[in-house]
Symmetry: C2
Subunit: 526 residues, 2 copies
C-alpha cells in the first residue's frame, strides 16, 4: 500500500461495511442521533491450550484516541461510499446520508469512560463505555475493537512472560514474524505488559525507549564467506562496539567455538580497558548451554556478563529453563540463582502473536438508549446464560481485601455506590444460587475503575506516559492474589453484580420472555 | 500513534536494531558494499495442531515493494539514530556512518527475484532472493520478513478455507479482532488466498472489491430498546435496502423469531416487487439451524435465498458443517447439495489470525558473497541437518508429472537447467539415502519459478492485479495432487536438490567441518 492508499484504508473507513449500512438505516429511521451507550468488554481470558491467563492487562486506548482524532469523513472517503452499488446497480448510500456524514469526525460527538491502560482487567467488566448519537457510537465499534483487542491481548501475554521471569530484563523481538504494521502496536503493548525494551527501532523512538539489538548469525556467516572466521567477526564487532559488546555465540558451535571465541575477544576488550557486556544463545538446550557458558565465563573471569536467551521463548519455556537451571546448575558447580540473575530474555514470535491464543474475544454491545424518560437499558438474552448482557449504564468497582489484594470487581448501576454500603452483596453474574457477602471489616478499599476520557469529543483525561502505564500495571499485578497469577490453572477472579444490577437484569429477562411469549401468541400458527 | 509518529515507526526504521548495528559494523570493516545475496524462505508449513497445511500461498510482495519505494533515511530517521547512546553515553552510531545512510533508499541498490504472489509455495524453497551491497541487503531483512511472512500465513489459511467450502462465496470478517493495522494486510492476503470479499471497507476500496456487510445484533437491540421489535427492525432494514436485504436472524431466537420475521419481511418485499437476498446465522448449531431455516424459507417460497453462516468459522468447522448437512438434511426433507450451494461463509477471527498457527517461520539467510573470484557460496551448518542452509546462488523449478500435476520443486545451481537434462535426479535436501529419478516421459513440464522483480532498484516486473494474483492461485491449487490438498495429514510435497546443488552442499559441509577441526587443533586446550 502506498501512502494515499493507507490514508484511505487506515482512516474512517477502517471499519466494517455493516457499520455504515446500519448508520444509514438509523439515519433513515430518524434515530441516528438518539443517545446510545455501548460497552466494550471481553468474555473470557486467553486460553493458550496448555495454560490459561487468570488476568488481562488493558491496553490500546491511547492509540484508539489518536486514531479518533484523525478519523473523519474526508471527501475521498465519501467518494468511495458514493461509488458503492447495490445489486440493482443503484447507489447503496443516498446523497442525504452522505451529506450528513461528510466532514464529520465521530470523536466530536462521543463521550468515553474507560479503565486506564496498564490496569489489570477481567472478563465481562466494561473496559470502555461509549456514549453518543446512535449512528456515531455504532460506527466506532470496529476500530475500537480492533485497537483495543489486539493491544490487550499482547499486553496480557507480556505480563505472563514478565511473571515467568521475575525481575530480569525482557526484550521484545517479534517484528520479523509479527502481523505486518500491527507489529508496532504489539511492541507498544509488550512494553505495557512487561517487556522492558524492543528491538523494533522506529516504535522505540516513538515511545522513547532505546531499541535493543546486537548482531545476527549473518554477520558471522558473512565474515566466513569472505574467508575470515567467527573470531574475526567477533573482533570486528568488539572494535566497533567496545562498551556494548554482546556476541551471538551459536553460529558454528556454542560451546566449542562461540563461547571460547567470545571469551578471547572479551579478554582483548578488557586489556584495552573495556568491560564486555555478554553473550546471546539462540538455539539448542538453552538451560544446559547457559549453565555451561556461565561456567566458562566465570572461569575466564567474566562472572558479571549477561547471558541473553532467545529462540521461541514464551512464559512456559522460560519457566522450564529456570526450573532446569535450578535442577542442573549445582551439578556443574554453578550457582543457579546467580545464573538466573544474569539472564536476559529475548521474546519474539510467541509474544507478538500471543502464541496459543491469537485473538481476544472483545465485543461492543448496546447497553442503553436514551428515551424521553431517560436511559432505557438494553439487553440481549442468550441461550447461554453467561452470554446474556449485563444491561444499562453501569459503574465498575474493584474491592480490596484486608491484605490489600483485589478480591472482586463489582458492576453496579450508575446510582449505586458500594463505598457507602454497610456490607456488600456480590452476585454471580448468571447463577442465582451463587453470591458472596463482604462486611466492611473484610474490605480495605473500594476503587472506582472507569475514568472520564472524552466528554462530547473533548479530551478531559491527561494521557499517561508509557512509564506511568507500566507503573499502573506493576502496582495492579502486585495487588493480585498469587493464585490469580498462576501460569497454569489460575484461580478464577470474581466479577460480580451488585444487588441493583442483578435485580434489573432479572426484571429485563422476565420482561423480554413475557414479551416473546405474547408475540408468539399473537402471531398466526405457521 | 499520530501521523508523524507513524511515518517514523513505519518507514525505514521499521526494522530491528541489530540490522543497523551490523550495517555500521560492515561499514567500519569496509565490506558494506560487498555484493551479497540473501534468500527468504520458510522452513515448515503451518501446523494448526489438529490439522496441517500441505502447501502455502505466497503473498505480500507488492506491499513490500510499496514500502521499499517510500522507505529512505530521512533527516528525522537519522536524528533518531544520532540520539542513540551506548552504555558509556557515547553515540552508538558514528557521524560518517550516518552520513553514508542519510537520504539513502535501500531499494535503489537492490536486485530482487521472487516467486510471484498467489503461487503455491513450499518449505525451503527460495521465495525471494535479494542481491545487493551487504549493508543494504542486510537492512531489508526485518521489513521483508514482516511483510511476506504475515501475508503468506493468512493467504495460506484462506486457501484452506477455500478448499473446505468449494465454490461457495467466502467473506473475510476479521477486522474487529485482527492485529491492528496489520488487519488490512490480512484482508488482502485473505483475498489472494481464497476469500471473495471482505467486510473491511477501506481496504476493499483500495483493492477494488466491494465491501460486504448488512447489519449486526445491535440494530435489532436498538429497535427493541426504543420500544419496537425485531420485526420492526427487519422492516426498517428492508425499506432502506429492498434489493440487498440480508437479515441477521439470531438476535432473539433463530427459528422461533428470526426466521419467521424474516419471512414476513421477505413476503412484503416481494409484494413490492423486490427479491430478498437472504439471512445470516451467527450462533448456535449452524448446520442444524441452516437446515431448518432452509426448510422454512423453501416452504415460504424463497428457495433461492442465500444463507450466510458466521461465528468462529475455519476450514475444519466448515468441513464439519457440510458433513453434518449431508448427514442430517435428508431426514428433514431438505436436499443437502442444494442447501450447500446456497451457503455463504463469513470467516473472521480464525482466518485473520491464522488460528492454531499464528506465525510463519520465514527466514532470510545469506547464501553468497561476491569476491574477486565471483560468487562465494555461504553456508550455515546446523546440528539439525534439515536446518543446514542450501548454499549459493540458485534457481527454482517446478516439475509437472504426466497428469499435469506438480510433483516436485527442484532447487538447482544458477547454471543448471533441468529442462535440457535427459533425466532428473532429485535429491532429498539432507538425507543422502533418499532420491528420486524422473525420466523425460514422466514429465509434462518444467517451469522456472523465480521472476525478475527489481534490477538495481528499477522495477522490471509488471505488477499483477489482485484478480490476476487470484487466478495464479486458482491455477496452482488446481495443479496440486489431491493428497497435498488434504486438510488433515496432507501428503508431503517434494522439495529436492539438483545433483549440482547437492554436491556443492556436501563439499561445503565437509570443508567447514575440516576447518572447524583444524581450528580446534590450533587453539590451546581450555
Amino acid at each position: 500500500m502506498k501512502a494515499a492508499q493507507r490514508a484511505l484504508a487506515e482512516g474512517i473507513l477502517f471499519t466494517d461495511e455493516y457499520q455504515l449500512t446500519m448508520a444509514q438505516l438509523y439515519f433513515r429511521a430518524g434515530i441516528h442521533e438518539k443517545p446510545a451507550q455501548f460497552e466494550h468488554f471481553f468474555r473470557s481470558y486467553p486460553d493458550y491450550g496448555a495454560h490459561q491467563a487468570g488476568f488481562c492487562i488493558n491496553a490500546g486506548l491511547q492509540w484508539l484516541l489518536d486514531w479518533m482524532e484523525e478519523a473523519r469523513f474526508r471527501d475521498e472517503d465519501i467518494a468511495c461510499l458514493r461509488s458503492q452499488k447495490g445489486r440493482t446497480g443503484r447507489p447503496l448510500f443516498a446523497e442525504d446520508f452522505l451529506r450528513w456524514l461528510a466532514g464529520r469526525r465521530p470523536m466530536d460527538f462521543l463521550t468515553i469512560r474507560a479503565i486506564p491502560e496498564g490496569r489489570v482487567v477481567h472478563p465481562n467488566v466494561p473496559l470502555t463505555v461509549v456514549e453518543g448519537p446512535l449512528a456515531m457510537a455504532q460506527l466506532l465499534e470496529t476500530p475500537l475493537l480492533n485497537f483495543l483487542n489486539f493491544q490487550t491481548l499482547i499486553a496480557t501475554k507480556a505480563a505472563r512472560v514478565r511473571e515467568s521471569c521475575g525481575v530480569q530484563v525482557v526484550l521484545e523481538f517479534g517484528l520479523r514474524r509479527g502481523p505486518e504494521r500491527g507489529s508496532n502496536a504489539g511492541a507498544r503493548a509488550a512494553l505495557i505488559g512487561g517487556a522492558d525494551f524492543t528491538s523494533n527501532v522506529g516504535i522505540s523512538h516513538v515511545l522513547g525507549y532505546p531499541p535493543k539489538g546486537t548482531h545476527a548469525h549473518s554477520m558471522v556467516q558473512a565474515f566466513i564467506a569472505l574467508g575470515a572466521s567467527e573470531l574475526d567477526a567477533f573482533r570486528a564487532f568488539a572494535e566497533v562496539y567496545p562498551d556494548d559488546c554482546i556476541l551471538l555465540v551459536d553460529t558454528i558451535n556454542t560451546l566449542e567455538s562461540g563461547v571460547p571465541n567470545a571469551i578471547k575477544v572479551f579478554e582483548e576488550l578488557r586489556r584495552k580497558g573495556h568491560e564486555p557486556v555478554g553473550i546471546r544463545l539462540d538455539s539448542g538446550d538453552l538451560a544446559y548451554l547457559s549453565i555451561q557458558a556461565a561456567k566458562m565465563l566465570d572461569e575466564a573471569g567474566f562472572p558479571n556478563t549477561t547471558i541473553v536467551l532467545s529462540s521461541n521463548l514464551d512464559e512456559l519455556v522460560i519457566w522450564q529453563i529456570i526450573t532446569q537451571i535450578r535442577d542442573e546448575a549445582p551439578r556443574y558447580g554453578v550457582d543457579p540463582e546467580r545464573l538466573i540473575r544474569r539472564l536476559t530474555y529475548g521474546v519474539g514470535t510467541r509474544l507478538i502473536t500471543s502464541h496459543g491464543h491469537s485473538a481476544l474475544d472483545g465485543v461492543y454491545k448496546l447497553v442503553a438508549v436514551r428515551n424521553r424518560a431517560g436511559w432505557e437499558p438494553a439487553i440481549k438474552i442468550s441461550e447461554t446464560p453467561d452470554k446474556t448482557l449485563n444491561p444499562g449504564e453501569k459503574r465498575v468497582w474493584r474491592i480490596y481485601d484486608r491484605r490489600g489484594k483485589a478480591t472482586a470487581d463489582l458492576l453496579s448501576l450508575a446510582d449505586e455506590d458500594p463505598r457507602s454500603a454497610p456490607r456488600l452483596l456480590l452476585h454471580h453474574p448468571s447463577d442465582p444460587e451463587r453470591w458472596r457477602v463482604l462486611t466492611r471489616d473484610e474490605i480495605s478499599g473500594i476503587e472506582s475503575l472507569l475514568v472520564d476520557i472524552l466528554v462530547e469529543g473533548k479530551l478531559v483525561y491527561e494521557l499517561p506516559t508509557l512509564e506511568e502505564i507500566r507503573a499502573l500495571r506493576r502496582a495492579d499485578v502486585e495487588r493480585l492474589d498469587a493464585g490469580v497469577k498462576r501460569l497454569v490453572n489460575p484461580h478464577i477472579y470474581h466479577v460480580s453484580l451488585s444487588e441493583g444490577l442483578w435485580n434489573l437484569k432479572q426484571e429485563l429477562i422476565q420482561a423480554a420472555r413475557q414479551k416473546a411469549r405474547q408475540e408468539q401468541r399473537n402471531s398466526p400458527a405457521p
